[in-house]
Symmetry: C2
Subunit: 458 residues, 2 copies
Amino acid sequence: MSREIPYKIYLEEHEMPKQWYNVRADMKNKPAPLLNPATFQPMGYEDLRPVFCDELIRQELDDTTPYIDIPQEILDFYKMYRPSPLVRAYCLEKKLGTPAKIYYKFEGNNTSGSHKLNSAIAQAYYAKKQGLKGVTTETGAGQWGTALSMACAYLELDCQVYMVKCSYEQKPFRREVMRTYGAKVTPSPSETTEVGRKILAEHPGTSGSLGCAISEAVEAATHQEGYRYVLGSVLNQVLLHQTVIGLETKAALDKYGIVPDMIIGCAGGGSNLGGLISPFMGEKLRGEKDYRFIAVEPASCPSFTRGRFAYDYCDTGMVCPLAKMYTLGSGFIPSANHAGGLRYHGMSTILSQLYHDGLMEAVSVEQTSVFEAAEQFARVEGILPAPESSHAIKVAIDEALKCKETGEAKTIVFGLTGTGYFDMYAYEKFNNGVMTDSVPTDEELEKGFAGLPKVPGQ
Amino acid sequence: MSREIPYKIYLEEHEMPKQWYNVRADMKNKPAPLLNPATFQPMGYEDLRPVFCDELIRQELDDTTPYIDIPQEILDFYKMYRPSPLVRAYCLEKKLGTPAKIYYKFEGNNTSGSHKLNSAIAQAYYAKKQGLKGVTTETGAGQWGTALSMACAYLELDCQVYMVKCSYEQKPFRREVMRTYGAKVTPSPSETTEVGRKILAEHPGTSGSLGCAISEAVEAATHQEGYRYVLGSVLNQVLLHQTVIGLETKAALDKYGIVPDMIIGCAGGGSNLGGLISPFMGEKLRGEKDYRFIAVEPASCPSFTRGRFAYDYCDTGMVCPLAKMYTLGSGFIPSANHAGGLRYHGMSTILSQLYHDGLMEAVSVEQTSVFEAAEQFARVEGILPAPESSHAIKVAIDEALKCKETGEAKTIVFGLTGTGYFDMYAYEKFNNGVMTDSVPTDEELEKGFAGLPKVPGQ
């Protein structure tokens, strides 16, 4: 087999991006501002300072600067695990018998096991630079908590992680990775915060949720001198940092003159997908090129495909700012049988606006079909994918099979966000044939929507 | 910080090795031949055919051909996860404050989590080419079983793994990875083989050993039509395949004109260390260059540093050929509190001969110091290392600290064979401060030596 395009396209150090790309600068309809949950007024820099790091607030609010320099210290850290490879899925193509050309950008080759490290190091860096002692955060599946622990260990910053209780108990090994990196990990809800005690009193024996862990982490940050809260997805700043994925992907494709027809990614809070598509979306927004963008979400947590585009609470305790986004309501909790991440009730405001404006598509898929795709991918491409990432694999395979029917040799790029090494409990269920699907009923969704805040004019 | 040498040196596809290097061709004192355990006569090609694949036997016995072509199909598979990076440990150097320059060859960026895949794909390929239905093997810590499962899934070959029972129970996730790749995993000792039933009758409730699992896998191979047995370390053929590590390392160093002073690797059965050092050892054997080679083994299983250089059984059931090697006796079982791999009682015959001839050194280290090194490494270099690999880290750090004392800017290369994602049980013990060390007494070793076979002239 002769191949002009290598299996894996690696950029050289000097080809790596030196700036993040801020897609908001090219959006005509800007994402709606964050609102104060009490007054419904837009929140500015000073309003956000008790919770977030100063420089990160600037990035959060900046919707006009197209390129933002990546500080040298972050570039140095990126060099430890980046560039990530853009892989041509020759073996998958052969197995499917498709004329489509499939590429995936693989972000799993670092100890956090995912793309989360791209923003974790940036957020930890700005916290350190501000002279803070530490940061607090929440983690669900555990990838974000691991990434932040790694970044904080590197910068010698204290790291406090509120881990959703059911994950804390089901994923002891994720917890131990964080502890190995020196993080303090607390199962949420906990007795260590007021909001945690309140939730425990109201729901004794609850196994927690992401929204609840966020509330605890925010409280912990604001009640300790020298601490701020950081978040692994949803926020504009996180999506900004994740554009390193898309910029590298674009540079690698450009290097070989490859133009993708469609770009596919899984979407939980939206940061990996947003990071991957941003530079391509920029071209589309500026009218230079056209691409299809497909967000893939679990049928059990279908924010895009069945949610409302509305202002909503970002957390269960309703202490965070309101964000305008596709949401299932902050009270929505996906079925317990749903494996892995992508459990967040809302979605990045940037992606929500782009989706609302018809600039991207979304599909939802059921988890047994996702694990079938994961197994098929693992056996031919070698990599054992995270359940989250496998949502993108599933739709990439579907699209490649459509090409097989039509005979079109389309170029498909998808984001392979991470590895499934800490998700073997879910794989075990799949291997034993006891994994099931679960889709919320319209009634269940209505209950979630009923909890949306009554923002004037919405 | 400007850096002439990048963080990670990646070879391009065209720079990757096309041949394995057979160090035996340059050895004056060849490794001793395998002996028939019944007759003590050297075993030839025909004697080994019932157990091993034909082409692999040729490789096993060939001690004169210096370079052996890597088949194109194996090169294609290698491209899926190779070249592995040679990383400059800038952050570790800075943390230690050493003038030493530290590099590590990182083999953990594939789903098996280790270098084992390099030989697994080769062995599976030759089995497939011979028209076999499947292969059998044993696995202890699980890396080899995972690697073989991946290779067999790729080639659509049946894969039967006998997994040491205590690992099978303590590492359910390793087991599930293998199952995801379609392997049949049986806890050993089992009722499925005669030798398994015999061991169970003699030692009811035993949690198994590697030597016992080997006996079962060999029996399973020889009792099924179209099956052969494959092994993940110790054998000459395995070390041969692993030279892809050393050849890539050498090419990467040569590319930047770097000459190492010492090369360090952990040693269980010896295949990763042998593979890493082979091309450099070749230069030393041919009198072209000199290097220090350091094998690092656990103090709880000290084959080199406290073992005997003698013919011994390779397995508990005594069905395998005898090999002349540094050994603790086939009845030796390391303390139960020893974490991770490197538990095999013997050592590669090639490395044993080289060590016996004074061409390499060996040191043993205790496991709490190994985990301290692992934690330090993880925090600054990001990668969470396997306990096995961390033996090499420990000694690399020791050597770098000696350089700090003397002011010498030596160049240290070590093999980072894999990641510790499936070893968090051991890390948890370390994090909780309940990990202990264990060193066998002289009396315990004597018991192992008493079981050595009485080979005439030994």
